[in-house]
């Protein structure tokens, strides 16, 4: 029964890409392997954000906080305690979801604009604590050289680890997208008043969505630590949140896989631009302006609109049982 969902063209393409990604470390230079790993982590983060922004219509403006919390939790446990790695890796997403729940409770009581503004502010508090608590978190410098368990201590092995874990997460997110939960979340995005009128507890549903999405953001944070081996406050800085938001917008936030495209584009661009200038933020701002003016639905959104048109025309006839 599960297979029914997968009878789509895009799945075939995804599987092919997945296998390609499995063999790439053997054939490309180390640096690109590293970049790909970073892309996977960022793509997972962007997908988790889109669950709330694109599918849920929430103004989740400071998603990076949960990413950072996941990374810091895992990193700190590995460095400061002698607990095994799987505790650290499991604690990351759980902590992220917990913080997500707490911040979510405050934000969800407010409407869209307030939600975003408050989240930026509360998230910045978490950042400020990490930034100033030198003894615990390394403050401004962060902590580097975090010890990884044997099986993922090399770049290649951490690459595979990240690829597999983020792949699993994306599959899970797809199932959620197609589930009643995801369907209801999208309905809430389109018309929260009507959802309430049909018996849905809108705030509770949104809060659940936030917990799920921040959990995945926490996973992304843990994966980041396995790739980089360090943690630093920039992971929770709201410019990063904005960057991830732009990735969703760029890729097309009403589609499922759009953010992956957006993440790939932005990370690649950032790496490329970084070799020429330190003013990446400026370029990012210009990209955002171009997007706003010319591609409001993102790259994939453009295709999506066409798809809907042909879909409605052909499908209606085909599906008369």
């Amino acid at each position: 029964m599960l297979l029914n969902i997968f009878r789509q063209k895009s799945l075939g393409v995804s599987v092919v890409i997945f296998f390609l990604l499995l063999i790439t470390p053997a054939i490309i230079p180390k640096f690109y392997t590293y970049i790909l790993a970073v892309i996977f982590v960022t793509a997972l983060l962007a997908m988790s954000l889109n669950m709330l922004v694109g599918h849920g219509g929430l103004f989740q403006f400071h998603h990076a906080v949960f990413y950072g919390v996941g990374a810091y939790t895992a990193g700190l446990i590995l460095v400061k305690t002698s607990w095994p790695w799987y505790i650290a890796f499991a604690a990351g997403p759980v902590a992220a979801a917990l913080i997500g729940f707490v911040i979510g409770i405050f934000c969800v009581r407010l409407n869209r604009l307030y939600f975003g503004m408050l989240q930026i502010s509360l998230g910045s508090l978490v950042w400020a604590i990490a930034f100033r608590w030198y003894d615990m978190t390394g403050g401004d410098d962060g902590i580097h050289g975090i010890p990884m368990p044997e099986f993922i201590s090399s770049l290649k092995s951490s690459y595979y680890f990240v690829l597999i874990v983020s792949g699993i997460c994306i599959v899970l997110m797809y199932l959620i997208y197609k589930s009643p939960f995801g369907s209801t979340l999208q309905a809430i995005r389109d018309n929260p008043e009507r959802c309430a009128a049909v018996g849905i507890n809108v705030k509770r549903h949104q809060l659940m969505g936030i917990v799920v999405a921040t959990f995945f953001a926490g996973v992304a944070g843990v994966l980041f630590v396995t790739v980089e081996g360090s943690i630093f406050p920039d992971l929770m800085f709201w410019v990063l949140s904005l960057e991830v938001f732009i990735m969703c917008l760029l890729g097309g936030w009403f589609t499922f896989g759009g953010p992956i495209l957006g993440a790939t584009a932005i990370v690649s661009l950032r790496t490329f631009v970084g070799t020429y200038t330190e003013y990446w933020t400026l370029i990012l701002g210009v990209i955002l302006i171009l997007l706003i003016f010319f591609l409001p639905d993102g790259i994939m959104g453009y295709n999506y609109r066409e798809k809907i048109r042909s879909w409605s025309a052909g499908r209606a006839v085909r599906d008369m049982k």
């Binding site: 199932l175 309905a187 018996g199 409605s312």
Partner: protein
């Protein structure tokens, strides 16, 4: 089944509802009529929880539902359609109705099952009863006005309500569409045993279909009774015709 008494709601100085009384018996078709601005939609909003009343009581099946939020009122068995089409424009028609069916079956929170295979029969059944089955994959935003109104009702039906409240169901419809909609309402009442409360401007429609009519003016109830009673009432005539 539903009993509204002494209901009041003001917006600042403006008394939108100022002493409304309404009784709906199980299995009835009840209509609320009144000139524009009489407070009919406000009354409905108060009943279904979109607005909070200032004073008065709303009792449904012996339970006081006055201060409950909309989603809890819905779960008690009241569903409603809105005057201005309040649908999910980006989702296909099928999903529009499925949302309320899933909510009714308490399946909205299922995380890992494919929604496309849940509640399919019930949703198709409802779509068929309002005549939208052939359009079920169309994006809701692209429907015609009449179809959108039908979808409105369909979404409300997804909640398997005991009491169905329709806010001006034939607004903006042609005579044919109006007749079709009213016969649909009649069918729903007869076949599925629904209790129906609606408000309307079109007098023909109301007097043909309703078993009990409540007349509102300037926020308060003038009278409620059988169609003949209302037709003869001098107060109603004064309100509508200025004492003819």
């Amino acid at each position: 089944m539903l009993c509204v008494e002494k209901l009041k709601k003001s917006f600042g100085d403006f008394k939108a509802v100022n002493g409304a009384y309404l009784t709906v018996e199980k299995g009835q078709i009840v209509a609320v009529i009144g000139p524009n601005g009489a407070g009919k939609t406000t009354l409905f909003n108060l009943i279904t929880g979109q607005l909070q009343s200032d004073s008065g009581s709303i009792v449904f099946n012996d339970e006081n539902i006055n201060k409950l939020p909309p989603y809890k009122i819905c779960r008690k068995g009241i569903a409603r359609s809105f005057q201005i089409a309040n649908i999910f424009p980006r989702l296909p028609v099928f999903r529009n109705v499925q949302v309320s069916v899933l909510s009714q079956q308490k399946l909205s929170n299922k995380l890992f099952h494919p929604a496309s295979q849940m509640a399919v029969e019930e949703t198709n059944h409802i779509l068929e009863s309002v005549g939208l089955l052939d359009k079920k994959f169309d994006v809701a935003g692209s429907l015609s006005h009449g179809d959108k109104r039908a979808l409105e009702v369909a979404i409300a039906l997804g909640n398997e309500p005991e009491l169905l409240i329709l806010d001006e169901p034939t607004a903006g419809m042609s005579p044919e569409e109006t007749t079709a909609t009213m016969s649909l309402i009649q069918t729903l009442a007869d076949k599925q045993g629904l209790t129906i409360l609606f408000c309307e401007h079109d007098m023909e429609v109301v007097f043909n279909v309703a078993q009990s009519i409540m007349v509102m003016q300037q926020g308060h109830t003038i009278i409620q009774g059988a169609p003949e009673e209302v037709r003869q009432s001098s107060e109603v005539q004064k309100a509508y015709l200025g004492g003819a």
